[in-house]
Amino acid sequence: MSDMTEPATITRPLISSKRHKSIRKNSRRIYSPYQDENGPSDDEDKDGERVDSNDPEELFQNIQLQKEIIANIRTKPWPIRRKLKVLKQAREIVLKFEGRLTRTRGYQAAGADLLKKISRVLYNVVVLFIPWEMRIKKIESHFGSGVASYFIFLRWLFGINIVLTILTGAFIVLPELLAGAPFGTIRSKTIPKEHLSSAQDLDTIWSLGGYLQYSVLFYGYYGNVRKIGSAGYRLPLAYFLVGMAVFAYSFITLLRKMAKNSRMSLAGASDENFTFCWRVFCAWDYLIGNPEAAESKGAAIINSIREAIVEEQEKKKDTSLAVLISLRILANILVLLSLAGSIYIIYFVVDRSQKLEQEKPELTLWEKNEVSVVVSLITMIAPSAFELVSQLEMYHPRTSLRFQLARVLVLYLGNLYSLIIALLDKVNIMSSAIPVAPGNVSSTSYLATISQPTEDNLSTIVPDITERQNSTLTMTLLDLNNSVTTIKSTASYGQPMRMQSLLNQTVIYEYNTRSQQDPCWETYVGQEMLKLSIIDMIFTVASILLIDFIRGLVVRYLSDCCCWDLESKFPEYGEFKIAENVLHLIYNQGMIWMGAFFSPCLPAFNVLKLIGLMYLRSWAVLTCNVPHQQVFRASRSNNFYLAMLLFMLFLCMLPTIFAIVRYRPSQYCGPFSGQEKIYDIISETFANDFPLWFSKVMSYVTSPVVVLPALLLLFMLIYYLQSIARSLKVTNSQLRLQLQSERTDDKKKVFKLAAGRLQAPEGADKKPEQESDITSMESSARSTSPTRPNGSVVNFESPVRHGNSIRTITQSASRADVSRAAGAARSPGAPVRQKHKAEHVPNRHSGYLGGSGSSCRSKSYHHMAYNPSTRYAESIHSDPLFRKTLRPMHTEPGVIMAQSYAGRRAHTTRYVIVNEHEARKKMRSTVRLPRHYRLADEPAEIVELYPRNVKRYIPRTPHRSHQPHLSEEEEEEEEEDPKSSTRRGSIRQSQRPRSLSDLHQSARFYIGDTVDSQVSMEQGLYGDEEDDDQDEDWVNDSAHLCSQTNIPESTCRYGEPHVKSKSKHKVEPSLTESDSASLASSSDQQNSSTDQYIQIIHNKEKYLKPGTKLTKKKSKNSVKLNVSASNDLVCSNV
């Protein structure tokens, strides 16, 4: 056994050592004879053996073996003589036979082996290099794909942030650090004197002031020199372009990932079949040899089964709709309320903090961080509240996860936005204060009340002004201004102003404007975002430790000394909340995007944060969390997260773009200082650094003349691609349908086979050898052999089969749809038609014309069913009349007829065929078609329909006793299934070859007997009417019934005397005779287009109601079916 598994184990050294060992063993065994005996005889033996094998492969193996022996003989614990002998022997063999093989062959084989090994090792190495792959796999095996999806998402975000970090780092931060003006050389890079003392205080650092504020972390630090360094790096331009590139890159990667995912999900969707079987039969990986891996695998299997169970339960769940709806409405109201509440609170807090800033010069720690803390608290608490609420709604876990995600996303967005709006408000005040500063006094008063950061900046400007304006004033101004800011005395303030005014009036103005504008709002925004991000991180860590870890510890160790079981009752262990955590990631990323422009190091910070989060989370999950009670399957290609991320990206980009476009950059800090708008850098670059013609070209390109047509073209392109995508989708679904029907075809063949087997007199033998029979089935289907059809007439043993034959009808109906959809009936091409042909075989036989209510009531309907193809008919007293009438019914592929005979008895069962719109027209046209569909008919199909109907509709008939297989309850049970499955829509349903659900479609045939069938159905008249009709034909039918179904005579009250239950051949004649007789009476109807035909109406809502009503009458089973059935067939006699 371990020999078997050996090759698959991954560890190289192990294998090679084993191999080595076993080789040695081999050689020892093979050569052990030498030990006991003297050479000659053995030599001969060996030689003989070797010479025998002419197979080059074997030769090669032998030679290899001998070579190994030669190589290893030194290590053998043999006497030297024996060694020599063996060596000689081996050499001889090698010499003798090596010539037979080309040397290259050996190299080839060795090379191939080596290649394989290397590729395997490489693969393993690659896996090693995927960050956290093992970790995630481990988590996945224990917690299911849902939790794993969080970590995969985290990893993906991590990747994005790495790229963003590289972008900003390489193009902004590094050049600035290397070539920019060093710290302290210019005003915007210098910490003002009076703050220098406090610049290293923890408090300052905490609020990202002091040294941090004047560092590459923030916008304000970057210089506005157009070209820096000896290479002339255009930092401002680079800053702007990178800021945009961050968004562009994020968009592109997101969209690409989404596209890839949707491709994957499309590709994967077709494998929906047999999910359970695969899960059960293919679950275990037999090559697992490591106990730990085995444990993981076991956990994974359990999870996948749990997931399957949840899916299953979800399908079966039903609660009263009204309660559910009201609950859901209630839940949504609650959610909306809490959303509004949280947004209000944030707005309130931001507002308050702004007021506080204006009123109080010194803020406490709490007051400074109030906003961030409140925001973080809300983001922590609200999701839990939402989760509680969502329990009211009783959605499938996956759906509820999505709802939860969407809600939390809205919450986060609300938070971010109220924050950003408040910030922008402030920025607005900062940047638009210019015109408000008319005189000295007012400006001073403003200055006095202005908030802390403003003051800082004010003081920073002062030296600069003096430097520039007048060097002589430097000292005095500096002192004076310092005194201004510190003492805030108007008198001392007035003094410098006067002095300045002496020098230059404009200086005053400039001073005023600067003093107010100088607070670098970009830096301020960046600070806020970074602060938010940091506090968020702290809260995350704290919540993990507190909520998960401490709680886990308490639950684990205190449960013994507590009066109730902590582990299973109140606190329990924490669960990993996927929705919340994913959203948290998205929110976090949103902050990064929002702030990246103003704080270029934010992505780098985020990278660190994500790494920390990854380790902390995965540790916490594995140590303190328990798997979610309800595990569910989260597909890996989950575009939902990504869609939310995209949404977030878009929304986060808006404020940044808005700020860039709307506000004036700070005058004295940052790369864009001195410009009117930030984006002016582009036009400036065009104007200065590009040749003249280029700017001309650009001006043309950006003129409406070009832009408008380009836009139009774009729209057209989008529309075009859109329509192509749509048509591809249609084609796709068609192909899928085709595949599906092909599959059902196969299935049908198997059934036929089974039927064929059953037809053997005692028929109960159902041994599964169908594979071999399939071919024969096929052949019989194509080229009818008369004997066969006859033989297979009787088969009513297994209900499933009945179901199946009915199913095929519906199947073909849908196929017909497809072909029609494709444009013309012929368009799908030969293969499809071929299939139609095949499918119609059974249908034709079972074809039945719905009994008409009034004058055209025909006594012969069911005889129609016996419209065998000519050969068949001939074999059993073919009679022309009969055939004639039949012809129209079955020639046209598009027309599908399903008929069931049994109906007679049941009063109900006439069924119907289904054909679509304009059936009348088609019918007529088809009458003239040559009958090229003379396929073999297997009457078995006909009969198969039979018992089902009988059972279903006529519980009181004696035939019931002949349905040994299903009891009433069983039936019901089965029928629940389709109900659930049909929820997925008709397409899916038809694709699923689940026999049980298909089975139930039989119930979906209704017959309308009146001329206006639909009306009658709606009125629910149908049953009664039919009763009348059918009673008339009762005698006839019962005879057929008896004969066809081999029902014991006792049950056939009306059975014709000569019918023997067991003799099919005898039965047939009687059948056809009676058929023809009755057909004769009805034939005129057929030919004179009074047209009885049957329509298949795909049950849309319109018919749903009548359908249900009807079925209620018939049986409770069918009621259920109807509701769900999307392709119910309604038969009518028009």
């Binding site: 056994m1 371990s2 020999d3 078997m4 598994t5 090759p7 698959a8 191999r19 076993s22 081999n26 065994r29 052990s32 006991d36 005996e37 033996d45 074997e58 193996q61 032998n62 073996l65 494998d271 047999f274 999910t275 359970f276 079987c277 695969w278 899960r279 059960v280 039969f281 293919c282 679950a283 275990w284 037999y286 090559l287 697992i288 040899g289 490591n290 085995a294 076991g298 299997i301 359990i302 089964i305 749990r306 399957a308 169970i309 339960q313 198997v750 059934f751 089974a754 159902k766 041994k767 599964p768 050898e769 297994s798 499933v800 089969r801 199946n804 297989h965 299934d977 026999s995 049980l996």
Partner: protein, 195 residues
């Protein structure tokens, strides 16, 4: 030849096994040494305990079933021939195999035989049908006690429903093959034996 020690494989045996299973000469000798090392009782046959000592089987929830597959009905010893026959199911299908054409019918490593082997793992009572009970038992082996009976039952029901085409609420072998027709059994149920 006759002079060899009794524990060694005789050439005739090798030839026969070669014919029967398609293994090469050196594979057979190699596997024989493996067989021999597993055979703690030194009696030329393996018992169930011998198999259970293999760690890969010990940790495999279905290990018992696999071990069972080695033993012919009603016996609790398997000799080397039987051992090789079972292993032959896992021999990869080689390209040149078709040309060679093994003399007697289908080789043991054909798709059908591989599937049959897998099927037997689930068919506890060897009646050529996987019933609900059997499936439940196997599932129970796989998941341990982590999942309630009821839930497991529903899984078994669903599995059978999905695969069952003739309504007997059992999975027959043909249904089983149908289910797995898309699975690359030839590839998955193959083991690269050392040459």
């Amino acid at each position: 030849m006759g002079s060899r020690a009794s524990s060694l494989l005789r050439e005739e045996d090798i030839e026969e096994i070669k014919k029967e299973t398609g293994f090469s000469h050196s594979q057979i000798t190699r596997l024989y040494s493996r067989f021999h090392s597993l055979d703690k009782g030194e009696n030329g046959a393996l018992s169930r305990e011998d198999f259970q000592r293999i760690p890969e089987l010990a940790i495999n929830p279905l290990g018992d079933r696999i071990i069972n597959a080695f033993f012919p009905e009603g016996e609790d010893q398997v000799n080397f021939r039987g051992f090789m026959k079972t292993l032959a199911h896992f021999r990869p299908v080689e390209d040149n195999e078709k040309n060679k054409g093994l003399s007697s019918g289908e080789p043991l490593n054909s798709r059908m035989n591989k599937l049959l082997f897998a099927f037997r793992l689930y068919d506890l009572d060897r009646d050529d049908k996987i019933s609900r009970d059997e499936l439940l038992q196997v599932l129970r082996m796989m998941v341990g006690v982590n999942i309630s009976d009821e839930q497991l039952g529903s899984i078994a029901d669903r599995t059978i429903q999905e695969a069952d085409t003739n309504g007997d609420m059992c999975i027959s072998f043909s249904e089983f093959t149908k289910v797995l027709e898309k699975v690359d059994v030839e590839q998955k149920m193959s083991i690269r034996f050392l040459h």
